[in-house]
Subunit: 201 residues, 2 copies
DNA sequence: GCCGGCCCATGACGAATGTCACCACTCCCC
DNA sequence: GGGGAGTGGTGACATTCGTCATGGGCCGGC
């Protein structure tokens, strides 16, 4: 029997997934969580075999949670289910030791199959997402460029970004300028959009 | 027996919802669709009593689909389920004759209860969303301000916005300036964020 | 030990943007 | 028939932004 932990902030989805997985032979949902912290606590208590995580949780993202789970409960394998299949996330997830990465558009039978595959130590990535990830490639941005671009995401003026990043306004503009040119954007706001689309920030 | 149509582009969610609703007495899922067009065709064929629609579908949004359904299948009541509970959408949905509006964070039993309520001609709106909608109020933006702000959403320069809106660059700047000040934003990009958060664009 | 890449900064320039005042026209409502 | 609100426009001004050149410090690889 594969013991599964579900983590998703959407109650409806979570109980629906539970209903679906419970119909499968050899799979049992032993715990549910709505937040990353909750999931971590649950995992410590129930030591599940596989954790099915939503990519976006209220307190952290699923990738960070997976990394923490691997430390807290070494025997627990992880897989991520998401609505937004951004290529960058896939790469980060795999690098973080996540065993499966699926969009929510897959069918229930595929989900159950992947739970089994991941439980057996295998890996599964949705073919379409994999293709996107390959064509999208790595982020061309340096660490600092990503940071600054992320701070620019909410439309804040350079001054504020500089304060929040503990940098000079001039330096911030340099980073934004080089980030925009790397992304083929005319200005930082368009750059934010491009980077978001690729899952780079 | 309440005959239900499900429309959601995410296969997993859709079949999970089907599993959940099928467990309820007196509810039967008679059709599923992944797109608005598909839903419309299904509704014509199966004449469901209640249509449970996702807010975001690949081809249209759930509110537009609901309006079309009311015309195509007059006896069919509609309700919307969504991940992003933006206040503006709620208002638009209710104005469009939608009977129920829920975030996906609700429990399965609430969902089933709302399906019944809507079927009986009642209305149900998630209390939290209702509170947000009331506190958020109406959009302070005029029609044109909204248009222009929407065109600015992708970070395009004023020149391009002007071309796409068939306006002078100067006029565009006036609209953007007044929109930003109405929204309490320091620049148009922050304004876009504020408006998005409220569901005003 | 040198080169390249990244990080951080400064200064300067032109272009884009935000803001304000002001005008004309239309439509609707009182 | 006179407001008021919305639409569309012009011109001017200060600020912000994008870009480029240039420099120093730090680290890792050849």
């Amino acid at each position: 029997m594969i013991r599964v932990l579900l983590a998703d902030d959407e109650n409806l989805i979570r109980s629906a997934l539970r209903a679906l997985l419970s119909l499968e032979d050899g799979i049992e949902v032993v715990a549910e969580a709505a937040t990353a912290d909750e999931a971590l606590a649950m995992a410590r208590t129930f030591t599940p075999d596989v954790a099915v995580l939503d990519l976006q949780l209220p307190d952290r993202d699923g990738i960070a949670l997976a990394a923490e789970l691997h430390v807290a409960v070494p025997g627990c394998r992880t897989m991520i289910v998401t609505s937004h299949g951004r290529p960058g996330y896939l790469k980060r997830a795999l690098a973080g030791g996540v065993g499966g990465f699926l969009p929510k558009t897959v069918s229930a039978s595929v989900l159950a199959q992947v739970v089994r595959t991941v439980h057996d130590g295998g890996r599964y990535v949705d073919p379409e997402l994999a293709a996107e990830a390959i064509s999208a490639g790595d982020s061309p941005l340096t660490a600092r460029e990503s940071d600054v671009l992320e701070l620019a995401a909410e439309g804040a003026p350079v001054e504020e970004i500089a304060r929040r990043a503990a940098l000079t306004p001039g330096t911030v503009r340099n980073y934004l300028s080089s980030a925009a040119s790397k992304l083929g954007a005319a200005n930082r706001h368009e750059a934010v959009h491009v980077a978001r689309r690729h899952g780079w920030i």
